[in-house]
């Protein structure tokens, strides 16, 4: 296997706070890569440095062998990198279906061409299929802002997949979701993965979720990587236990 994503020496400070202090890792093509760590350990900051929301102070990021350090979110999206944010981010006034269409329409044709394209840019079929997969078919026409938190969360995740991204970053997909649905969500992600063949990088606090879903897990504490391995290896690592229990 080849590395799809390579991160080397990535660092970012906020004033005196070294949120991310030089992190290295590589994500293999086709794997589910988990990122865990206590609150404030720099997971989201690391995502935002990779995904163009924040400028890293130092370090390099490569995607499919090409340098993408400091690239803008729009450019990364066009390269086939999808993401969700830690906070819920859907288009509240658009219907659930339109949220999914919006997430993929810019990949169809040219900007000028889309002015004259069919209103749905030919994406209704794909959106309906994904809505069914996410158990959202019955709310397809409702404004996304009126859906339940869990439904919006599922929609948000669906949007990251809609354009056929090769690499998808999810920041705490299961956070705040009804525990009953968390298992369902893991199954859904597995199915999405099987269908799309996408590679995942997933931040999550829910251990059952992470251990059940991920091929490998990286553990962060205070902006540093303290462990990296299979879920079983990581779980047995004394440093990890200390980071979670001590601190």
């Amino acid at each position: 296997m080849t590395a799809l994503l390579e991160v080397a020496g990535l660092a970012r400070a906020f004033g005196a706070v070294r949120a991310v202090g030089g992190v290295d890792f590589a994500v293999e093509d086709g794997e589910v890569f988990g990122v865990i760590g206590p609150n404030g350990s720099g997971k989201t900051t690391m995502f935002n440095c990779i995904l163009g929301q924040l400028r890293p102070d130092a370090g390099r990021v490569r995607f499919g062998g090409a340098e993408i350090t400091g690239a803008r979110p729009l450019a990364l999206a066009r390269l086939g990198i999808g993401r969700t944010f830690q906070s819920l981010q859907v288009f509240g006034s658009l219907s659930a279906r339109d949220n999914l269409i919006a997430a993929a329409q810019e990949y169809v044709g040219t900007l000028a061409g889309r002015l004259l394209a069919a209103p749905d840019a030919g994406l209704t079929g794909r959106a309906e299929a994904l809505l069914a997969r996410l158990n959202l078919a019955h709310v397809a026409d409702k404004p996304a802002g009126s859906l339940s938190y869990g439904q919006q969360k599922l929609l948000d995740i669906g949007m990251a997949f809609m354009s056929g991204a090769r690499l998808v970053f999810l920041d705490e997909p299961a956070a705040g979701v009804n525990p009953r649905i968390v298992g369902e969500m893991a199954a859904m992600l597995r199915a999405l993965k099987a269908e799309s063949g996408a590679t995942f990088v997933v931040i999550e606090h829910n251990m059952d979720f992470v251990m059940g879903l991920c091929d490998r897990v990286m553990v962060m504490a205070e902006g540093k990587r303290i462990a990296l391995g299979t879920p079983a290896e990581v779980r047995a690592d004394p440093q990890v236990l200390e980071a979670y229990l001590g601190g």
Partner: protein
């Protein structure tokens, strides 16, 4: 190909369009010259407000400079006609100029939002107004420029009713084009940039280009309205293109309901026609108008077209409150 489904909302919109068209075509039978002039003015104000509704209501970019684009369209036509150019060449020139300047005005919106953007656009409007007023060699300054009515296919449009029909046609064409645009993927991209630009960008939506386009297209609509306004009034001076007219255009959008397709039609009717009806109230007119706007914003900030939804929501809330109160009363021993 599948036929568009005729939902209740579609049928209602269609019935509304048919009734409105019939009413507008029949109106001159009951009106004097001034009434027909006012309706022509309403049609052109609606065109400018449709543009602002696109920028503000659909794409979420505040602009307090819409009257400046009206001025750009009007003066482009007036200056070119004075130089002997046909109105029908001046029209595209004015619209293109408004589009280009609108595109340029979009750039501040890429850096600042909300009240900063409001001030940036307001400043732009003040600048355009000063240029129009001070560059007498070009614009005639406060003395203005006379503008003759154009001809259409050899037929003079000097009659008020003929020109009214032209204004209605301009409104119909603009409304249709904007409707098609809003239905296209562009319309969805505009809504995304209004709802959540950061998320939009992460989904490959080019927020930069769409922001600039939202300004430019909104400005072009005002350019169209301005180009037809100049021959309507036969004479233009700087006064209709200052800050206050921009606020009135903003009011048209806000009163009708931003982000609602027919909002500008209603808003322009109220802002254009109400002063005439309230003439009897004389100096009290502004007070009455002010109270009306304040009450509307307090009761229904979504504008007049949001009132039915608001009332329905209030009814539903009252019903459920009564239901739960009844439930509690019944539970009592």
């Amino acid at each position: 190909m599948t036929l568009p489904t005729l939902s209740r909302a579609n049928v209602a919109a269609l019935a509304f369009i048919v009734a409105m068209t019939a009413g507008l075509l029949a109106a001159p039978l009951f009106l004097k010259t001034y009434g027909v002039y006012l309706l022509s003015l309403w049609a052109l104000n609606t065109v400018a407000a449709i543009g602002l509704n696109l920028t503000l209501g659909y794409a979420g970019q505040i602009s307090l400079g819409q009257a400046a684009f009206l001025g750009i369209g009007a003066y482009a036509v007036a200056i070119l006609m004075k130089a002997g150019v046909s109105f029908w060449l001046g029209l595209p020139a004015g619209v293109l100029l408004a589009f280009a300047v609108g595109l340029a005005l979009g750039f501040p919106a890429l850096r600042v939002q909300h009240h900063y953007l409001a001030f940036a656009t307001l400043g732009f409007n003040a600048l355009v107004f000063l240029v129009i007023r001070n560059e007498e060699w070009l614009t005639g300054g406060n003395f203005g420029i006379r503008v003759a009515r154009p001809e259409l296919l050899g037929h003079s449009l000097r009659s008020g009713i003929d020109y009214y029909h032209v204004c209605l046609a301009v409104l119909a064409v603009t409304a249709l084009l904007v409707w098609l645009l809003l239905r296209s993927p562009w319309g969805r991209a505009f809504a995304c940039l209004r709802d959540n630009p950061i998320r939009a960008e992460s989904l490959g939506i080019d927020v930069r280009s769409y922001t600039l386009l939202a300004f430019a297209i909104g400005a072009a609509c005002a350019g169209v309205a301005g180009a037809f306004l100049a021959p309507l009034v036969n004479f233009i001076d700087p006064s209709p293109f200052g800050l206050v007219p921009s606020i009135y255009l903003l009011l048209m959008v806000i009163i009708g309901g931003p982000g609602r397709f027919f909002g500008p039609f209603l808003g322009a009717a109220i802002v254009t026609l109400l002063p005439e009806w309230l003439r009897v109230a004389d100096v009290w007119y502004l007070v009455i108008f002010g109270i009306f706007v304040v009450a509307l914003m307090a009761f229904c900030p979504g504008g007049l077209l949001a009132v039915p939804e608001k009332v329905a929501a209030m009814r539903a809330a009252r019903r459920s409150a009564r239901g739960s109160a009844a439930g509690q009363a019944g539970a009592r021993p």
